[in-house]
């Protein structure tokens, strides 16, 4: 048997797990750091608020959280810019990316509460969010199915002569679906300005990675498409943003797609009704020490980028925003029943 000569190279930055180091991160300046922290904290605060509402029975259907994954989510969206034509195709755990892309907390709460003001008008649920104003396209449930459309969107950006990019997300479970393969291969062949962000949070519902795939790193698959593959620490927001920045440069230069595997952990159940019992306690304990927000906060304090006062202000601001948005949504009217039969077809 031949040795496969190696696994895909792990990106230089990815000696995982490690702490955030005080080096220069490509594509970022220190002025970006507090913003990254803000989006991560806004994300967690919003999700915590939804959980409360859920426990009060005010949410219809399931609640899906990105707790523990905020660095991946926020860091990956940060280098992109909807006003440049970039488009975001997020998954259910990517609230952070949506906020970073410009979506307002109101939109989130309206959507989760199925209100008339929700971007899907109550026709789709939970975080299948669409926010056309910010080029955010809501996912369908079928995992990996958004990859081909996201690639097609990216392709259209190229056909139209823009420099825009589309970024899409996939899980360590969803990466086993055929569309992952067809979409990424097609993107590579047409050199679509496309980034696939693989959020490897160790589980797919209750299924651990050894039952999902047998390769070492999912980023190794990049080799089979002839595109750059990165394997990075998904709990270091700076490393995530830096890596996506590189992929963005690669795409904007006309060199096509990249695959980025961010290693992180889903710190809650698949959805809030899932007791998460199948995850060994030690594993959760271990990961709790790598919380992306706590880690980054400690780093910023140590570095002196922020001080306690600034942190407090940030938290106040976030609490205010979340409460405002939630109150707005709670008081907003529900969808008009007549909408049920409308807009199946475009005019």
């Amino acid at each position: 048997m031949p040795k496969n000569r190696t696994e895909t190279e792990v990106a230089e930055v990815a000696r995982y797990p490690h702490n955030i180091t005080n080096r220069k991160y490509e594509g970022l300046t220190e002025a970006d750091y507090p913003k990254l922290l803000y989006y991560m904290k806004l994300t967690r605060a919003s999700e915590n608020r939804i959980v409360k509402l859920y426990r009060q029975g005010k949410v219809v259907g399931g609640v899906y959280l990105g707790t523990g994954m905020e660095a991946t989510s926020v860091g990956s969206a940060y280098p992109l810019d909807h006003s440049k034509g970039d488009a975001l195709f997020p998954l259910i755990r990517d609230l952070g990316a949506m906020f970073t892309f410009g979506m307002s907390p109101r939109t989130y709460f309206c959507q989760y509460l199925n209100k008339a003001c929700s971007p899907t008008k109550g026709k789709d649920g939970n975080i299948h969010l669409t926010d056309p104003e910010h080029n955010i396209v809501g996912m369908i449930s079928h995992l990996s199915a958004m990859i081909p459309p996201a690639v097609g969107w990216a392709w259209a950006l190229k056909m139209r002569g823009t420099k825009g990019i589309a970024i899409n997300y996939i899980g360590n479970g969803g990466a086993q679906v055929g569309d992952f393969h067809e979409g990424l291969n097609f993107a590579a062949v047409i050199k679509a300005p496309f980034i696939l962000m693989l959020e490897n949070n160790q589980y797919a519902y209750s299924t651990p990675n050894e039952k999902q795939y047998a390769c070492k790193n999912l980023s190794d698959r990049a080799l089979g498409y002839g595109i750059p593959g990165y394997h990075i620490d998904g709990n270091n927001v700076l490393e995530v943003a830096e890596t996506v920045h590189k992929a963005v440069q690669h795409a904007r230069a006309g060199n096509g797609p990249s695959l980025i595997e961010a290693v992180t952990m889903r710190m809650r159940g698949h959805s809030e009704h899932d007791d998460h019992k199948y995850v060994p306690k030690e594993l959760l304990d271990e990961w709790s020490h790598r919380d992306p927000i706590e880690r980054f906060t400690a780093f910023l304090l140590e570095k002196g980028t922020v001080d306690e006062g600034a942190l407090q202000k940030m938290e106040q601001r976030i609490n205010g925003e979340v409460e405002e948005a939630m109150t707005f949504a709670e008081n907003a009217p529900g969808p008009d029943p007549a909408w049920a039969s409308q807009d199946v077809y475009a005019p």
């Binding site: 219809v60 259907g61 199925n114 899907t120 109550g122 026709k123 789709d124 649920g125 939970n126 299948h128 369908i140 449930s141 079928h142 995992l143 199915a145 899980g171 479970g173 969803g174 086993q176 679906v177 055929g178 569309d179 797919a204 519902y205 209750s206 299924t207 039952k211 999902q212 795939y213 199948y278 529900g334 969808p335 029943p337 007549a338 909408w339 049920a340 039969s341 199946v344």
Partner: protein, 324 residues
């Protein structure tokens, strides 16, 4: 005899079949340690081991295709779709591999695909559909959709013992809402046989799945108003009980076709064609269809209510039918 829920009936059937036949095994996403998204196979991993209760990767096409291959090689897989909706990503395996294999090659494909389906659970466009009609329209497949614990158990056993690919649609709304006494001893409900769930003489409602209960509720109301409405539960959708339909129509002369699936191109059409061809002279009123709207399944409860058929909609249409 024990009083069990619809979902328990499914669990019992699976367990009993696995004990009866060592070639039967279970595969699907999260069916092992988690016991399935709806906990149908909870405890099975411990009871039957990893070899026979297989947590698969997130890959519907591989699940269905591998089940088909294993079936051709002599096993009897029962594959679980986490939701029926996800069968669309394994569609080609179902309609081109499973359905056509025996006709082309003589290889039997004895496998069952369990599909938790249906709405009224606020699941939205991708967790609420009733995708059975696509498969009824694919020669080579069998399709069943029980409405009661008894039928759920008997049809699942029949499906597992059948030498063909059988799609088993279990309605999520019924899982824990419907209970009944089910005999303890081994029994099957034959595929292809319908069941009169309520006898009548003034009109027949032909339906299946969750809508059987909606039909029964409506029939009960009308009984109070002096009309006797028959409720025919098809149970099997392919093959379906053509004779029972004709027999009922000949006796009741008025027909409502009721299903939760959307209307255009849906199964009610198939039944209408059968009836209008074979019981034409016995019809005393137009055939009426009551179905969901022709839209994706909306998420918000207030919209889903408009979308779905319910007792009131059935009653309104029934009264019209009876007055015709």
């Amino acid at each position: 005899m024990a009083t069990i829920t619809y979902i328990q009936a499914i669990t019992d059937a699976l367990r009993e079949e696995m004990k009866r036949d060592k070639d039967v095994f279970i595969m699907g996403e999260d069916v092992g340690i988690y016991g399935g998204a709806f906990r149908v196979t909870q405890g099975f991993l411990e009871e039957f081991g990893e070899e026979r209760v297989v947590d698969t990767p997130l890959s519907e096409s591989a699940i269905i295709g591998a089940a088909a291959g294993a079936a051709m090689a002599g096993m009897r897989p029962v594959a679980e779709m986490q939701f029926a909706d996800f069968i669309t990503t394994g569609f080609n395996q179902v309609v081109n591999i499973c359905a056509k294999m025996h006709y082309r090659t003589g290889y039997a494909v004895p496998m069952t695909i369990r599909c938790p389906s249906g709405g009224n659970v606020h699941g939205g466009p991708f967790h609420s559909t009733n995708p059975e009609a696509w498969f009824v329209h694919t020669p080579g497949l069998k399709v069943v959709a029980p409405s009661t614990p008894y039928d759920a158990k008997g049809l699942l056993k029949a499906a597992i013992r059948d030498n063909n690919p059988v799609l088993y649609f279990e309605h999520k709304y019924l899982y824990r809402r419907i209970k009944e006494d089910v005999p303890d001893d081994d029994f099957i409900v034959p595929i292809g046989k319908g069941d009169i769930k309520r006898e009548g003489r003034d009109a027949t409602i032909i339906t299946y799945g969750a809508m059987v209960h909606t039909a029964l509720d409506a029939a009960e109301v009308l009984a109070g108003e002096g009309a006797e409405v028959e409720v025919l539960d098809l149970r099997s959708l392919q093959p379906y009980d053509k004779d029972l339909i004709i027999d009922s129509v000949k006796r009741c002369n008025r027909v409502m076709l009721l299903h939760e699936d959307v209307q255009t191109g849906g199964l009610a059409g198939e039944w209408a064609a059968h009836i209008s061809q074979h019981a034409f002279e016995f019809l005393e009123a137009p055939i009426v269809r009551v179905t969901s709207l022709d839209t994706p399944v909306p998420y918000a409860p207030v919209l889903e209510e408009v979308f779905l058929p319910n007792k009131e909609k059935v009653l309104t249409a029934l009264r019209e039918l009876l007055e015709y």
